[in-house]
């Protein structure tokens, strides 16, 4: 009877224990579980986006992802304040999932943007350096206005700054500078090119004069001189064949024909040497005076006065020479053509009174010049 009673108690105890255990298991089982993994995934996705510079190159999406992550965390903390069985983490999970998705998108877009920007910047920098090369090649000695040179200079500096930023991987900064640089450089280049094109409208005349000069040299088996202003060349022909080629320096406003005394322009046309001055008759080593102004120049000057494009008080220029003392590296004459003294010695020796001197803008047309 007693043993039976003990067994009964043991069984009751085991049943109570099992029920208690089951109750605890059920209680724990029904505690709402927070979306830890989802939040951790969102955080890692955000971290990835940050390392892909999405905060710079996919700003809006990155900001949204970050705000959603913050919302997830705030919501989670708020839910934690409620009684354990009344907590609901659905919103937290929703925010975390959305944050992760946006962060992944931001990272992907940022990666693409960085890659595209890298290519874009490289192309732009190369293109602008080409424009600078063209400017240096075609306009270094071209009398553009101070304002245009200022813009070109600013454009070059911005391009340099852009290159510095690009080399450091600061693409956003590089883009701002390259855009500003492009605006200044392309606009200045186009302006200068338009000016040059207008100047080269006279090319058919220049070609006619040059061809005639060479033809006459061939026919007469004599010396002729052609001055190519754009390429700064003095070309000496004998019997129609080029014998010498020298670098020359001109007046600072060498573009266009000479119109008036003191305009520092070198005239364009077909002239002849009218006088030779050796060392003791000129301050520029040796000099060859040409017949500027000729009848055509005088006629054109009168027309300009009549048209009112020149004031009545204007005077026609004169005393245009080929002379020595050159080799200074700049255009410094009043409209004359300067050679180095040693080269002047050669030209002085072969030239006589009557030797043709044809001064033209260029021996080649604009397309050939581009090549």
């Amino acid at each position: 009877m007693r043993i039976k009673k003990i067994w009964k108690r043991v069984i009751i105890f085991i049943v109570i224990l099992t029920l208690t255990f089951l109750a605890i298991v059920l209680l724990v089982r029904f505690i709402p579980q927070p979306p830890e993994e989802k939040v951790a995934y969102a955080r890692i996705a955000l971290s990835e986006a940050t390392s892909n510079k999405a905060d710079t190159y996919s700003k809006n999406l990155y900001r949204e992802a970050k705000a959603l992550y913050d919302s997830a965390m705030i919501n989670w903390q708020e839910e934690n304040k409620r009684f354990i069985y009344f907590r609901n983490y659905e919103k937290v999970a929703g925010f975390a999932e959305l944050s992760a998705r946006k962060a992944e998108q931001a990272a992907k877009i940022s990666k693409n943007n960085v890659s595209d920007l890298n290519i874009y910047l490289k192309q732009k920098i190369d293109k602008l350096n080409d424009i600078i090369d063209q400017i240096d090649k075609r306009f270094t000695s071209y009398p553009l206005s101070a304002e245009v040179w200022k813009r070109i200079s600013k454009g070059k500096m911005l391009l340099k700054e852009s290159e510095v930023a690009y080399s450091k991987g600061q693409y956003a900064q590089a883009k701002v500078r390259v855009t500003d640089s492009e605006l200044l450089l392309t606009e200045s280049y186009e302006k200068a090119t338009t000016h040059l094109k207008e100047y080269f409208n006279s090319y058919p005349d220049w070609k006619k004069w040059a061809d005639r000069t060479i033809r006459e040299s061939r026919q007469n088996l004599s010396y002729s001189i052609i001055i190519d202003k754009y390429s700064r060349k003095c070309l000496v022909y004998l019997g129609g064949i080029k014998k010498y080629e020298y670098h020359v320096e001109l007046g600072k406003n060498w573009v266009g024909d000479k119109r008036v005394k003191g305009d520092k322009a070198t005239p364009e046309g077909m002239y002849k040497i009218v006088k030779k001055f050796d060392s003791n008759k000129t301050k520029y080593h040796k000099a060859l005076l040409i017949d500027y102004p000729n009848e055509k120049d005088k006629e054109e000057f009168k027309k300009e006065i009549a048209r009112g494009t020149l004031p009545r008080s204007a005077k026609i220029g004169s005393l245009i020479e080929i002379h020595g003392d050159g080799g200074r590296g700049i255009d410094w004459t009043e409209g004359c053509i300067a050679l180095t003294n040693s080269e002047m010695d050669v030209v002085f020796k072969i030239a006589n009174e009557g030797t043709p001197v044809t001064i033209i803008g260029s021996m080649v047309n604009l397309d050939q010049l581009r090549d």
């Binding site: 724990v28 927070p34 907590r87 000695s141 101070a146 070059k156 700054e161 600061q170 700049i330």
Partner: protein, 198 residues
Amino acid sequence: MKNKVLMGLAVIAMVAVLSSCGKKPQAEIDAANAAIEAAKTAEAAVYVPAEFAAVQDSLNAVMADITAKESKLFKNFKGETAKLANVLTLANTVAANAATKKEEVKAEAANLLTGIKAVIEENGKLIPKLPRGKEGAAVIEQIKADLATVDGSVVEAQGLFDKGSFMDALNKIKAAKEKADGLNAEVKEVLTKARIKF
């Protein structure tokens, strides 16, 4: 009856022990946040961006762990407290690294500024020697325009430097220095060709 009272006291003691383990380490959180703020003030995001992002990420991870623990019935923040101490140390290191890097950039910018000012001063002495009466020549116009641009850049860079934006100032000065050196060589070439002593 006596047994029931004892049992009740034991349960209360147990709860008290468990809840004493579960206190959120607020002081450590505040200290870690303050250290990150200090790193931010030291411009860690500018001078050591990767390190700064890493320390911020570490804090976010610990905060997520703490919030996760707060969701549990029985809480123990020992592990998180240790992690917060690591974040604090890391944030202090990042702040120190940022300060070192900033000093390096500042010194480099200051050196370049001194160097460029010397070149500009030399250029200023050379310009009046350029061939007299030839100021309008295209090449001189370019040199003058370039010199003015370099001057402008140096003024801007000095402004950035004075404001403490050493990184931006450095980028600007590097470009300007390259240009100023090029110009110096160009001016000297013009003077040499014009046979003018300098």
